[in-house]
Symmetry: C2
Subunit: 327 residues, 2 copies
DNA sequence: AGTTAAAATGACAACGCTGTCAATAAGCTA
DNA sequence: TAGCTTATTGACAGCGTTGTCATTTTAACT
């Protein structure tokens, strides 16, 4: 009985022959260890939680599926935990979740992962967690964070537009509170600087990562018969870019002939517009898979280290029909 | 100890005074029963599964959140199980899931819930389940199914268009294999019949519930300078309606002046188009809440019956700017 | 008050695993 | 081959609940 447990958990000190015998029986009986019993008996838990407050359904599904696929492979259970970070009883909420099912750890996704109040709470409670964050990787948090280098991606998109001759490039930003917003803006600025193009704050519109705000943003940037002479608009995400696209269409502006528009994230949005959006592909499912792997590694401590975990991702430029050379 | 268990499980034979004492302690200590232990010891499980193969992220998130909100209230755990019904080892997949965590039951969502191979398997395995189905309620399945009356909703949308003077109404259908497709088509036909309007099969386009197929559908229906004289298009879902809207725009057709377009489902899609879509609001979160409640009732047997469960929902007409009188 | 039935509480095993530690088998040395 | 060390296996308790059944308390009667 205990030997079977050893085999299942890939513990050392099991003779090859014994291992084979057990595995044969496991396969024949289609044995599946009972998760409740494992969680109850063992010192480590086989349940991880995914916590999110991002309202973007596409994003959430991708994150779920990524974590889930790793969980399946490793025999872990996934508990999903949507929440709103404005929630006053968030602390009680977390504690309840943790008491209910002892968790191996949590995967925190942005923007909630940026909240230090949450990480402090988890540190206090001694709960493992991995954060998915927007930003450039730092050395200190290699074993706790997965970075999505929005800075670099925005730099690349902006460069793409600059090399196509665009100089007056509008930028529709997302929510100010999100780290991704400032990272993307910084990348945009850096690209301008590297191409000796002046930054103009009039080209910046403060949006809300929503379709509507994309519409408003484009209207504002292109107002007064486009007196700013904008020839390209960089959307802070695909949703806003889609909004900008729609607004442009209503104004009778031809895309990409008169105006290039780019998105960010490569969500289904970017393929449901016409023309399809040039964007930065963000592999959310892969990102979340690595987040899960990183969490498993932490949980299991030194043994079973997983060395192939990538902790920094840069969304890659996907050029489609919504952008082209300045005419 | 056992008395606490009785209080937690709302079992009878606990004196009011004892109940209060226990509850006070529970609140003070913020006691949360350990789910793993409950699942292991008890005869009934406190974990339910949500199984889905619908690729629509908005739909899935709504279903998850609805089930989750009930689970939270009732102290249940939710295991999400995305899958593809073409999966050859689906059976093994289900059995693995069931062995891993003993489940109180499953909520099955369409289109997978329409597959009798799955329900047969679950019947064999003696697993409780509740199906969310498209269609008109029947008497036999009152305690196993939640119906979404797409027939009636399509009837209402079609009637809305008919009463606005439209007679040549195109219909962009979804996947043929989905029950919702035929139900919606039947509703459309019934409305036509009741308004003494002839059904014309040329007005029907077979789409795929995707944005792209909506675009194609509108192009086909409005081809040859609209020789069919179509003045309204009924989208099989919002995504296709959004596609149709976009195609119309490209063709220079004014919405709703020259053409009325309606969607189905009232997903965020219907508000991200311009003009916003007239559609049938399908309260997926409420539907899934009731599905969860129905499942809990089944699980707990006779005691704790929940009498307010609605097992039939009719999406309700939401009139927005994409539809208007025939001109 | 004394008796009896019914209601409320408690004692204890069991759920299916894992951790600990003891027992055994295998491998090695002299 | 005895005598040792080390690798492998097994026995048993315990994780935090619930189900069963025994025990105690309360209520309802003579």
């Amino acid at each position: 009985m205990k030997t079977v447990s050893r085999v299942i958990n890939k513990e050392p000190s099991v003779r090859k022959k014994t291992y084979d015998i057990v595995m044969e029986a496991v396969n024949e009986l289609n044995y599946q260890p009972n998760l409740a019993a494992r969680n109850l008996a063992g010192t480590s838990s086989f349940t991880v939680g995914l916590v999110y407050d991002n309202p973007n359904a596409y994003y959430v599904i991708d994150m779920q599926n990524g974590v889930l696929s790793r969980c399946k492979d490793e025999g872990y259970e996934l508990v999903i935990h949507p929440c709103t970070y404005t929630d006053a009883n968030m602390e009680a909420d977390f504690i309840t979740m943790i008491k209910r099912s002892r968790l191996a750890g949590l995967v925190l996704t942005p923007p909630l992962s940026e909240q230090s109040s949450i990480t402090n709470l988890l540190d206090e409670l001694n709960i493992h967690y991995v954060r998915v964050l927007s930003g450039r990787p730092t050395d200190d948090d290699q074993d706790t964070c997965i970075y999505v280098n929005d800075y670099k991606a925005a730099y690349e998109i902006t460069t793409h537009l600059l090399t196509h001759g665009h100089e007056n490039i509008g930028f529709i930003c997302g929510d100010k509170e999100h780290k991704s917003t400032s990272e993307r803006l910084e990348g945009y600025k850096a690209a301008l600087a590297d191409h000796k193009t002046l930054f103009n704050s009039e080209f910046i519109y403060d949006g809300k990562y929503s379709f509507e705000s994309g519409v408003e943003g484009a209207k504002a940037l292109l107002a007064d018969d486009n007196k700013l002479a904008i020839t390209a608009i960089l959307g802070g995400n695909d949703e806003m870019a889609a909004g900008a696209l729609f607004a442009s269409r209503l104004m009778g502006i031809a895309i990409p002939e008169q105006l290039s528009i780019t998105g960010f994230e490569d969500s289904p949005f970017s393929r449901q517009t016409w023309p399809k959006l040039t964007t930065a592909h963000q592999a959310n499912d892969v990102i979340s898979q690595h987040a899960a792997r990183l969490l498993f590694t932490k949980t299991r401590g030194a043994r079973n280290q997983d060395k192939d975990i990538i902790t920094s991702f840069t969304p890659s430029l996907v050029i489609r029909e919504s952008s082209g050379p300045k005419q």
